[in-house]
């Protein structure tokens, strides 16, 4: 079941890498860490329709770590929200594929993000609105682990528990690295699970690169009634590319031609 998703994720990794290489900018490390989660969401979990991106009954995804927008663009293209040809316009003049996602420009984008700590409060509002309408759709939000240092997230965590938002799922992309250093050496919030549990959330910890585990944790069958859910996804920044993996230098570094060839070769080697 998961192998198909793994193939899609592999394609998305290669297309993302190519895009960052050609644009000469991007956040390749964090993109590699979140791509498996995005793939599972868009190709298995989310109820969304590329033909009707504004369908009121759709599930919502907020990518709060907005700097990894290019991964989301590639996923949206692969899923049919935007033409695949358009990916090559990333960061180019007149393109709607900017460095951070814009909901007023790109179909499938739910929220403008970029400044960290914005997505979770907005997702709480979306989930609250769904409760108000007695609607069945779910809201998912992906934050970076370093991003959890922003206090606004903890405001939202309190409010979500108080509101009993069991239609809200927070996925923390826990790759242990932030822009300039390890979390451990910066402001170490880990472990996340006991903190979220203490705030009244249902928490599950998974391998964020194991498709079966991701799909199981995000399935509606695992929702705990009356509680918002947090999935702590243990990931690697730069996953799939040996010299980028778990290496803080690759937050927004761009590969040179030799590195690009090697990275692409490694990814092709794992494509089936």
């Amino acid at each position: 079941m998961a192998s198909n998703l793994e193939q899609i994720a592999n394609w998305i990794r290669r297309r993302d890498l190519q895009s960052v290489y050609e644009a000469g900018a991007g956040h390749v490390g964090g993109e590699m860490s979140v791509i498996d989660i995005l793939t599972a969401l868009y190709f298995r979990i989310l109820s969304v329709n590329p033909e009707q991106p504004q369908d009121p009954d759709r599930d919502r995804l907020v990518l709060s770590k907005g700097h990894t927008a290019n991964a989301l663009y590639v996923v949206l293209a692969k899923r049919g929200f935007i033409p695949q040809d358009e990916i090559s316009t990333f960061l180019k003049p007149m393109s709607r594929l900017n460095g951070h996602p814009n909901r007023t420009k790109v179909p499938g984008i739910e929220t403008n993000t970029g400044p960290l700590g914005h997505g979770l409060p907005v997702a709480v509002g979306m989930a609250k609105a769904a409760k108000l309408d007695k609607a069945a759709w779910r809201t998912f939000v992906i934050t970076g682990d370093g991003e959890m240092q922003e206090g606004s997230n903890w405001e939202a965590i309190m409010a979500a528990a108080q509101f009993g938002l069991d239609n809200l799922t927070l996925i923390i992309d826990h790759n242990r690295l932030q822009q300039g250093a390890r979390l451990l050496d910066t402001n170490n919030l880990a472990p996340f699970a006991p903190k979220l549990e203490a705030f009244g959330w249902a928490v599950e910890e998974i391998d964020g690169h194991d498709m079966d585990a991701i799909c199981a944790a995000l399935s509606s069958e695992t929702v705990v009634k009356g509680k918002p859910k947090c999935v702590v996804a243990h990931t690697n920044k730069g996953q799939g590319i040996s010299f980028m993996s778990d290496n803080v230098a690759w937050h927004h570094k761009v590969p040179d031609s030799v590195q690009y060839e090697q990275a692409m070769k490694e990814l092709e080697g794992t494509a089936s």
Partner: protein
Amino acid sequence: MSGSLHLGDFTSAANVYGAGGMPRYYGDALVASAASDPRVVALGADLSAPTETDVIRDAMPDRFFMVGIQEANLIGVASGMAKMGDIPFANSFSVFLTRRCYDQIAMQVAYPKANVKLAGFLPGLSTLLGVSHQAIDDIALMRALPNMTIIEPGGPDQIVPAVKAAIEIDGPVYLRLQRADRPLQKDQTLPPFELGKAQTLKDGADVAIVASGLMIGQARQAATKLSKRGISTAVVNLHTIKPLDRNAITQWARRCQLIVTAENHSIIGGLGSAVAEVLAEENAGARLVRVGLKDRFAEGGSLPYLLQKYRMSADAIVEAVVEAS
């Protein structure tokens, strides 16, 4: 030193004056709007009574949501609800609602044109509680944001048309609101206004005082005093600070030799600055004097005391006009 010293900031005015004895223009307008429009909801960050949201909380508990003391999340939640089709009113004191969460307002409300209404209370010097609670730069902050409409009603009774106008706008609105602290006298009431159109409250040929919010009262008193001295003085209620009625300002500047702006705010970035920009760009000719807080923080104190001390009272406006004439 005259004026009320009661700590109404943290209480519902009804509690001070007795239930039913005090008009709660905002609270009632919100309930009326929510009753007629199912999209309207209210969000609170504590401070229910001083933002009059206890009215909707008690009347329509399924349309009021308390997030707690957390303004950044308040704005995020409001944005999320707006994106799902609701019309959330986010309520707090102006100073917290604008300064503490400016990044969230910029990125989650203004930039995506989210249909969020920001309702801020305790404008400018209208609080005893001192600098921490005095919003003296909120208009400047909101005015700098693209897509933002700014409305400051000329008096508490104009809150009703302000709420109505805010709902009719499909996009972000900042309402700068001052609650009635006592029942309005007949000469304090104002007719409803039309959004974006400066409202002439008194005609005049020599001087035009362009004011907003509680400075309307000072401007009207000043105009009466000036007229007695033979200086024909107009009073213009510039309730919509953005988008600005440039045409009206230009016409007043062509007609009168002196324009005085009167604002309960810093003279930097607010009404005075907005009018100055128009006068300069239109080369309209009139002199300009800005009455307001002159690039400094104030302090805690009663409103009459602070207006007098910081040269923002009716008498100070009269003196400013005489000096400039």
